[in-house]
């Protein structure tokens, strides 16, 4: 029950790279509930170059819907509130609008320290713009074509041999990063080569004007800290953190990730145009959306004792968080999403991988043009079925790539949020996208964030933990249902599982599910049922005792989904058959039905 001493009405804003969402949370019948939302274009870039403009647009929508005055005549938020119809008691904001931190990695070994550093960077709002590994710079000199000099008599390009170390160092100098991460050496190991690397970093930094020099984070052999500081500390700010590769066998990513997050805040978030004015409205700092989302996933895991995976597929960033007990992992793919970042997906992904998920015939060129146009106009929503299929395909690839390396087995709950939820109001499609992209095995629940405000709700905990918990539990997610996804090496058409479903009220349903198919058994939200699953030979499902898996499940917006397509999902190589198969799955899960 809301405490009168605490804040009762709260406004939360999630300022994304494409859209700004603002939600109003208020005490309703003694509970904190989500009341209304406004969605507007994010205005951090020119011509507005002021993110407050988008926040105000979204707030004005809430004013119009609730008849509650939130802004003064001079467009300032009324906080604290003056009455139940004027203002709010607190305002909290999160953001994923800033450009990612540009990071260059310099290390001794590609296989060890550089790889660990890349993994660490991938867990933060940063992109690797260059990676220099000393062990790759030996060997033969390589031929390089040099264009003719404008003031030279020579008119044709020439080929010269170049030192690979110089080529790599030039690439590093060209990358113009915000931050250089220097790694290498296990703790207690040799340091000589590391000092040579430090000299390379120092010479690149010294050649830049002071105001344009990148900052350096040293995350290598801790014994080298002082000599590294001697070489670099005079030229640019140097921060030292624990070794990212303390031993040959183990990596320690967290200290470097914390430092990069702190730098992201200092160098990107705080420089967002309009942020200073926004901070006058809020009593707590604006934090990255991925942090807030992680808090929500961890809360769900702790509150219900579950293993949870959360995926936030945005326009510019895709975040995957897992929480199993106290263990949490977070992967942030900055500059990777289904909005303006779609161009990067097109650039870096084999186009056939995207085309494979289209249930319709379309030329590569047409599909590529439409995806690129979506990246030019990231707010545009799919109107036709064809447009929707294209968005779905991009979403699958964005999520599958971001979740590569994330353990997706043994989960109890998978939740989806972000722009993907906005563009796919069909809940069956959202379930299909999650299953196709993550391909999890086992028995788990699926949920989506219908208002795309779950991360922002999580950030409420910083001013009112009770409000955050209440609104996440009651309004944060829509449960789609329970999924049974066995592992199987059967052939298409063979029986994978026999399922008996006994709802609390109603008759028993018996199903034989063939390999390669997707079955949906409607089970309403709140409706309970007992299920018995009998896997056939060659089929594996966790927690099977004496050949039967028994559980009591609860329904959802979709019900019970039995995904017997095997893992990994194999698409037919024949294009016609592949399209038919993908289309069949859309039909099986109700992905062609609009939820109005």
């Amino acid at each position: 029950m809301p405490d009168s001493q605490k804040t009762e009405s709260l406004l939360v804003a999630d300022i994304g790279s494409v859209t700004t969402k603002v939600g109003l949370v208020d005490a309703v019948n003694g509970e904190f509930r989500f009341v209304s939302a406004g969605i507007a274009a994010t205005t951090a870039s020119p011509p507005d170059a002021d993110l407050l403009a988008g926040v105000r647009d979204a707030i004005r929508q809430i004013e119009a819907r609730t008849a509650r005055q939130l802004l003064t005549d001079d467009q300032q938020l009324i906080v604290p509130g003056r009455s139940s119809t004027q203002g709010v008691d607190s305002f909290v904001a999160i953001t994923s609008a800033p450009q990612p931190l540009r990071v260059a990695i310099v290390g001794l070994s590609r296989e060890l320290s550089v790889t660990s550093a890349v993994r660490a960077v991938n867990g933060t709002h940063a992109v690797v713009t260059a990676a220099f590994a000393l062990d790759e710079t030996g060997g033969r000199w390589v031929p390089v074509t040099v264009p003719p000099s404008p003031d030279s008599a020579q008119q044709t390009a020439t080929t010269v041999l170049q030192d690979p170390a110089v080529l790599a160092a030039e690439a590093l100098a060209r990358a113009r990063p915000d931050v250089i991460v220097l790694v290498g050496g296990i703790d207690g190991g040799a340091t000589t080569a590391l000092y040579d690397l430090a000299n390379l970093v120092a010479v690149i930094i010294a050649a830049r004007e002071e105001s344009m020099r990148p900052l350096v984070v040293f995350a290598g052999n801790s014994a080298a800290r002082a000599p590294i500081a001697d070489r670099i500390g005079q030229l640019t700010p140097l921060r030292s953190v624990d070794n990212v590769q303390p031993t040959l066998e183990s990596a320690n990513l967290a200290p470097l990730q914390r430092e990069l997050e702190s730098l992201y805040d200092e160098k990107k978030v705080k420089w967002l145009p309009g942020l200073n004015a926004l901070t006058n409205w809020t009593s707590v700092p604006v934090i990255p959306s991925s942090h807030a989302f992680q808090n929500v996933i961890c809360y769900l895991a702790r509150r219900y004792g579950l293993s949870v995976l959360g995926a936030d597929i945005g326009g510019g960033t895709t975040t995957v968080v897992t929480a199993r007990g106290e263990a949490t992992t977070r992967v942030v793919h900055a500059d990777w999403g289904i909005g303006h970042a779609l161009e990067k997906i097109i650039e870096q992904t084999d186009i056939e991988r995207l085309m494979d998920w289209l249930p319709i015939e379309m030329t590569r060129e047409d599909a590529q043009a439409r995806w690129l146009n979506q990246s030019l106009r990231p707010r545009a929503i799919p109107v036709s079925r064809e447009d929707a299929y294209l968005t779905h395909a991009a979403t699958r690839v964005a999520l599958a790539t971001a979740a590569r390396g994330v353990a997706v087995d043994g989960l109890d709950l998978i939740v989806l949020t972000g722009g993907a939820c906005a563009s796919n109001s069909n809940l069956g499609v959202l379930a299909l996208l999650a299953l196709d992209a993550l391909q999890p095995q086992g028995v788990f629940s699926l949920a989506v964030d219908p208002f795309r405000l779950a991360p922002a709700f999580g950030s409420l905990a910083r001013v009112n933990a009770e409000a955050a918990a209440s609104v996440i539990e009651r309004d944060g997610f829509t449960t789609l249902g329970t999924v049974i996804a066995p592992w199987s090496n059967n052939r298409e058409g063979q029986i994978d599982v026999r399922v008996q479903i006994q709802p609390a009220s109603g008759g028993i349903i018996n199903l034989e599910v063939q390999h390669g198919s997707l079955e949906l058994v409607p089970l309403l939200p709140g409706q309970k049922a007992t299920i018995e699953v009998r896997p056939a030979g060659g089929v594996d499902l966790p927690h099977v005792k004496r050949g039967v898996f028994k559980a009591e499940i609860e329904g959802g917006a979709l019900g019970l989904i039995i995904d017997a397509r095997g893992r990994p999902i194999t698409l037919p190589s024949d294009p016609e058959k592949r399209r038919t198969k993908v289309q069949q799955w859309y039909w099986d899960i109700g992905g062609e039905v609009a939820y109005v």
Partner: protein, 362 residues
Amino acid sequence: MSDALIPALAQTRVVKFARIRRERMLPTRGAVTVTAGNRVGALDIVAKADSAGHLRPVPLARYLRTKETALAQYLLKQPGEDVTAREIIASKPESFGMLRRIYRAPGAGRIAARQGAWLALDLMDAPFELRALYRGAVISVMARQGVVIEATGALVQGVWGTGGEGFGVLRRMVETPEEILSDDKIDVTARGAVLLAGAGVTEAALRRAAQEHVAGLIVGGMSPQWRHLIAELALPTLVTEGFGEHPMSAPIFDLLAAHIGEETVVNTPMDSPTAIRPEAFIPILAAGSAGEAVLPPSTLVAQVGAVVRVVSGARVGEIGKIAEIPNLPRTLESGITAWGAEIEFNTGGRLFVPWENLELIG
């Protein structure tokens, strides 16, 4: 429907006569050659830098086969000093002084820094000269970095640019905005001109345009396959509608067609959060348009009667007016329920279009 519930739409400016301000910045620090208040032509140099900046770190101690602590004694040039191409920078005696191991500068430039075993050379590319591009008045100077120029003229914003900028006389290469520009239309008379194309351009036409050194290209659509080719050809290209084959929107084509034969700027910065949108600009002296107010382009407002362009979905690229703003959202073929407006198209017909798929144009 309350006005507050109508979202702020994206805008594409297609303005017959406006005053604009544009930053012109050096890629590295240099010297600004004009002062505030100067009037500048498009080709006037407003700032210079010795080089666009090409840093080459060299493991000099390794090349000389010496220790980093001994390197200093073999250096003939010190950090901060200029070097010419092939000039000996370091020399180390070997075989009792009978031979010398030397390192020559790979090009003209400056010794930028030395640290340990490494030497950084700042190699000169051609000196970088920043041209005004926009004919107008310098209204502010950022020391060693660049200037802000205020100019008046016709402005057309595009959706995508290849990077780069060009300036030349605008030449019409197609009869209608639906036409594709082919190579047979481009000849030597296109040299130095900005070409106005229609719905697209062929690969051969792109290569021919580059061969004839055209100053820029303005086109409605662009095949996604030509993105990398056009970057290689270094042909400043402004795309007004998007990827694929798209007839250029009538207001854009008509405005540009009205300025055929006039000097035109094509400025197509690569996408970045702080960059301006790619644009074409035709300078017009304020005094030359008596009776017209010279003001910054006004803000467009989404309301009944406003001119809009469809940017996605059915009838993409078509221009129309907002005929009605329904009070309820509608469900689209994709299954998505969206708020939007009824659009009456210039070519006839009416269609409900979600707000997200509309932009104000004008």
